[in-house]
């Protein structure tokens, strides 16, 4: 086999220019795909990080029906204190959960006593919220980086629209689950960066203040955001938690809890999927490039060496060995092209990291693109290229192996 490799490589070096041209084409294709995978992957994970670490958490648990409810932030679908305690006990048994943050969410009116607008309020335990969404504090653009009782963090959108500053007194009015209306004065403790989407009107207050506004006598939780120690275990932890919580049934015998990953809660998941689809099509283009170029080279190689094929066949080389010889040539071209492409891609990724390219996403600016290539990416792309190279070489190789020596020797 080694000798066949030696002959194949020598045959490739016989037509240096053509081999270099084909290898370059494959190398450029591999490089392009790898750089795209690295850059789009970096973009995707920065975005996922921004969404999960600043607002959503990795997982969320609601009362079943809460997310699907036609009402926005329904107070009638909160988890009872007992249910929330049960959930906490279960989560403490899962070592992969780093932290969790119970939230009371409600919609209300926000007024500066001159103008009034609507607001979405999150009542949180500050320490738990910061532990679960660590980028939360970095979103506070003005004021103290904390949430104190009697204070409210308001989104930039409202602060600018109603010309409210840190230290101003405002009022939040809300209807509780029984339909009665209550209001409470707050001091603006800080102004928080708005996020893209409905969360752009989200304000934050202490959970005790939220209970007071909603006149809750017992704690009721709208959602529990969860942070994992290792994001790659997202689906495993989600499934495990779901399995454990599905044993808790309501009076109708249906599960009380609804466990969802960030993917089922954020519209950005579709953008992430779109990036994956684009990556897939880019890979398809690479396959087409490799397929066409290798097939072209191998067809030429067979055509130019018909007499030689006749000779080796005449002296007793079995069809299988002739097939192998040409397949190895295709394989070697693929390996060579992939190797050069990998080196180029690693070089370009290194350069991008050196230059530190920044970009904006939604209201976040100055995000640094930090592409990286995993061994898995490199091996996977290389394997595709090499496999396609062998497949592309198969037809010409098969033709060569089936050639009648008498016809091949007669070829001029």
């Amino acid at each position: 086999m080694l000798k066949l490799f030696k002959i194949a490589v020598r045959n490739l070096s016989r037509y240096k220019r053509r081999t270099l041209l084909t290898s370059s084409l494959i190398a450029i294709g591999v490089m392009f795909v790898l750089v795209f995978v690295a850059a789009s992957g970096s973009f995707k994970y920065i975005m996922i990080g921004q969404i999960t670490d600043s607002m959503l958490g990795h997982l969320q648990v609601h009362k079943r029906g809460y997310v699907a409810s036609i009402d926005s932030l329904p107070l009638t679908l909160n988890l009872s204190e007992k249910a929330e305690k049960k959930l906490e006990e279960t989560m403490e048994k899962i070592i992969d959960i780093e932290s969790f943050s119970p939230r009371i969410k409600f919609g209300g009116m926000f007024s500066n006593f001159i103008e009034t607008t609507n607001i979405r309020v999150n009542g949180v335990y500050p320490e738990k919220e910061i532990a679960t969404v660590p980028l939360f504090l970095s979103r506070i653009k003005q004021g103290k980086k904390s949430i104190k009782e009697g204070e409210i963090l308001i989104p930039e959108l409202l602060a600018n629209g109603l010309k409210v500053k840190v230290g101003d007194t405002v009022v939040v009015i809300a209807t509780n689950r029984d339909g009665s209306v209550n209001g409470k004065k707050f001091v603006v403790g800080g102004i928080i960066e708005s996020v893209t989407g409905p969360g752009g009107r989200d304000g934050y207050m202490h959970i005790k203040d939220a209970m007071e506004v909603l006149r809750m006598e017992e704690m009721e939780i709208s959602e529990v955001a969860i942070r994992l120690k290792d994001f790659s275990k997202l689906n495993a932890v989600s499934n495990r938690l779901d399995e454990m919580m599905s044993k808790e049934l309501n009076k109708q015998g249906k599960p009380i809890f609804d466990v969802r990953t960030w993917e089922k809660l954020s519209p950005f998941y579709n953008v992430a999927r779109m990036i994956d689809v684009m990556t897939f099509f880019i890979k398809l283009m690479l396959i087409a490039i490799v397929l066409v170029s290798i097939m072209n080279v191998m067809i030429m190689a067979v055509f130019e060496r018909i007499r030689e094929i006749g000779t080796i066949s005449a002296i007793g080389t079995k069809p299988k060995k002739i097939l192998s010889l040409f397949l190895i040539e295709g394989f070697s071209l693929g390996v060579f092209g992939a190797a050069i492409g990998n080196i180029l891609a690693l070089g370009i990724v290194f350069l991008i990291n050196l230059v530190k390219i920044t970009f904006n996403f939604g209201r976040q600016s100055g995000l640094v693109l930090s592409p990286s290539l995993s061994a898995g990416d490199i091996l996977w792309i290389s394997a595709i290229v090499i496999l396609v190279s062998v497949v592309a070489a198969f037809q010409p190789a098969f033709k060569a192996s089936r050639m009648e020596p008498v016809d091949a020797l007669r070829h001029v």
Partner: protein, 234 residues
């Protein structure tokens, strides 16, 4: 027991609607360790006959046995295995593999076709290169040696597998007289030493004067058989 036995061998080529009879009812027997030549003008069927004997092609009708094997019954794969084991080929244009050195060209059939162990391979290749006088050129590529040298390498390649029969199609056509005689001498020496049968297709009088038996072909028919001896064509 004859090495080659042909009975009523016929080969017809179809070119469009025209049928060309390349060989017509040719019958002959060749004994082991013979030095034979088929002669005749161009188109007489010499190369076709050699192709049939060499299992490179199949007869349209008739029987052909080589080393007691009915070659027309062999599949593509079996024919390749049979050639690798029993036959050696020498071509008019030498047909050396350009990417292999002289040594590697001779080694090729042992390595790729017969899977002979490394040590034995080396011994046989070196021995044959010595016999054909190409030891000092063993690391050169075919494009670095002369036509005569190429044909000597081709002879070594044909003989390295210890074949029972070597088929040589116009082996001296591209060589000058001196080199042609040298190559014929080597082949005769191999025949004497190892008992290999050589069958030539040629119209080169140099070969004709050296062979033991001369078969004459004309228009695809065998029209004569004569003894040739020590340069005297009878």
């Amino acid at each position: 027991m004859s090495l080659v036995n042909a009975e009523n061998l016929t080969k017809v080529y179809t070119m469009g609607e025209i049928e060309v009879k390349a060989l017509q009812s040719v019958s002959f027997e060749i004994e082991p360790a013979s030095f034979i030549s088929f002669i005749g003008p161009s188109g007489s069927g010499k190369t076709t006959l050699l192709n049939l004997i060499g299992c490179l092609d199949k007869p349209t009708s008739g029987t052909l046995k080589v080393a007691e094997v009915n070659t027309s019954e062999l599949t593509h794969k079996e024919a390749a295995a049979f050639r690798g084991k029993n036959l050696g080929f020498i071509f008019q244009d030498f047909n050396l593999i350009p990417v292999l050195t002289v040594y590697e060209n001779v080694e090729y059939p042992l390595l790729i076709v017969q899977n002979v162990p490394s040590e034995e391979r080396k011994t046989r290749v070196i021995s044959l290169l010595k016999t054909v006088g190409m030891t000092d050129q063993k690391d050169k590529y075919p494009d670095q040696i002369s036509g005569g040298q190429k044909q000597r390498v081709a002879v070594a390649r044909a003989l390295v597998t210890n074949p029972r029969l070597v088929l040589a199609d116009e082996p001296t056509a591209n060589l000058d007289s001196k080199t042609a005689f040298m190559v014929i001498d080597i082949m005769r020496q191999m025949k004497e030493e190892f008992g290999v049968t050589f069958i030539f297709s040629t119209h080169d009088p140099k070969i004709v004067s050296e062979v033991e038996t001369v078969y004459t072909l004309q228009d695809g028919m065998l029209i004569g058989r004569a003894q040739g001896k020590g340069g005297r064509y009878a």
